[in-house]
Symmetry: C2
Subunit: 218 residues, 2 copies
């Protein structure tokens, strides 16, 4: 039996924390990217908005391989308000999906759920207006849940796996930690944390070379 001073106990606790994979304030750095409001369209909805046989025009590639920003823009409308000039992303998807910030959702009077892309459970409704038509996109509107894209190699390096939740600390002057960021692993992914403009503004991130620190939270 040993007797320990308070300082000994503090050292022991800090050591256990450190060995447990807890990284304290520093963590492991990952680039942060801000996603503005945007729309993914199904083939049928694309044709309803832009015309039969219409092909979306690629403007520039996004950081995730195969994804691109289109030249086309649409307007979102509800009984409460409207937001014009909303970006369309390609390629087409199986289901139309509208990703807004909660600031946008307030303007439109919507209460969309916080969801990962592709998960449209309880998603909200919105009208989408294009140059050739109008659709009611039922069950399409979500607020994107913060997530981090990485390859299997990155996942091994960071000691995390697909579907795990981590904390991302953004160490700006207005430092914020996002406490439930989902890890998405795919061999084609580029390493990046994706947040929306509300999260970006809360952390005073205005784009360009900001990194977040990944901290395990489990």
């Amino acid at each position: 039996m040993n007797y320990y001073s308070e300082n000994d106990i503090r050292q022991i606790v800090a050591d256990v924390l450190s060995r447990s994979g807890f990284n304290g304030a520093k963590g492991m750095e990952i680039p942060v990217e801000i996603s503005a409001r945007h729309v993914h369209l199904s083939k049928a909805d694309k044709e309803a908005l832009f015309g039969a046989g219409y092909t979306l025009t690629r403007k520039r590639d996004l950081s995730q391989p195969g994804q691109y920003l289109c030249e086309e823009r649409v307007k979102l409308v509800t009984a409460s308000g409207e937001i014009a000039n909303v970006a369309v992303l390609g390629p087409e998807r199986k289901q139309t999906q509208v990703e807004l910030s909660l600031t946008d959702a307030r303007i439109l009077g919507l209460k969309p759920p916080i969801r990962l892309s592709g998960d449209l459970r309880n998603a909200a409704d919105v009208m989408i207006i294009g140059p050739k038509g109008v659709i009611t996109a039922r069950g399409s509107v979500i607020v994107a849940k913060a997530h981090v894209h990485m390859t299997p190699e990155d996942a091994r390096k960071y000691g995390v796996e697909h579907g795990r939740s981590v904390n991302i600390r953004i160490g700006t002057e207005r430092s914020v930690t996002l406490n439930d960021v989902q890890v998405r692993v795919d061999k084609n992914f580029g390493l990046a944390v994706h947040i929306d403009y509300d999260e970006a503004n809360a952390a005073q991130v205005s784009g360009g070379n900001i990194v977040g620190c990944l901290q395990k939270n489990g």
Copy 2:
């Protein structure tokens, strides 16, 4: 050398965890209040906007004693945009101060600093329009730094002091920790964490009975 009871050791461990920035720690609960964009006016600016000798009309009291929301509204204008229907708070202050979110600042094309109320170093300029006049409020625009109001009794209870920075964890479904929240202590303060709408949206706080957990960070 001291001998510690299990309870002493539990307290020490909790304190080490809290100071380490570990986000799983529960912390101490404090009500969260959201501050919308608003304006405080000097006597001279109030008269320029509303007329000589004008008295602001109290609409309702705010949580901090002596502060109140007025019936009057103003418009903010820059070369880049405008925001109408902005709240005026009373009573008058020595200096006119405009508190915006970064979302608002984007609309107006401004880059105001993150500041505690009353600290207008490098504050941005904006035009304010009232029913009887227009002023250019130079060096008036800030984004409010998140802060927590408490009495000296609360401060003792939480083990913090005026001017200290703490973390506030908001444990919503979209959990966020604000990592640099300033403690403001005054015997007249009501216990509350004040955040803006960007921080509220990032944490999916929409008002009503949300509490944050105070965690020591130093």
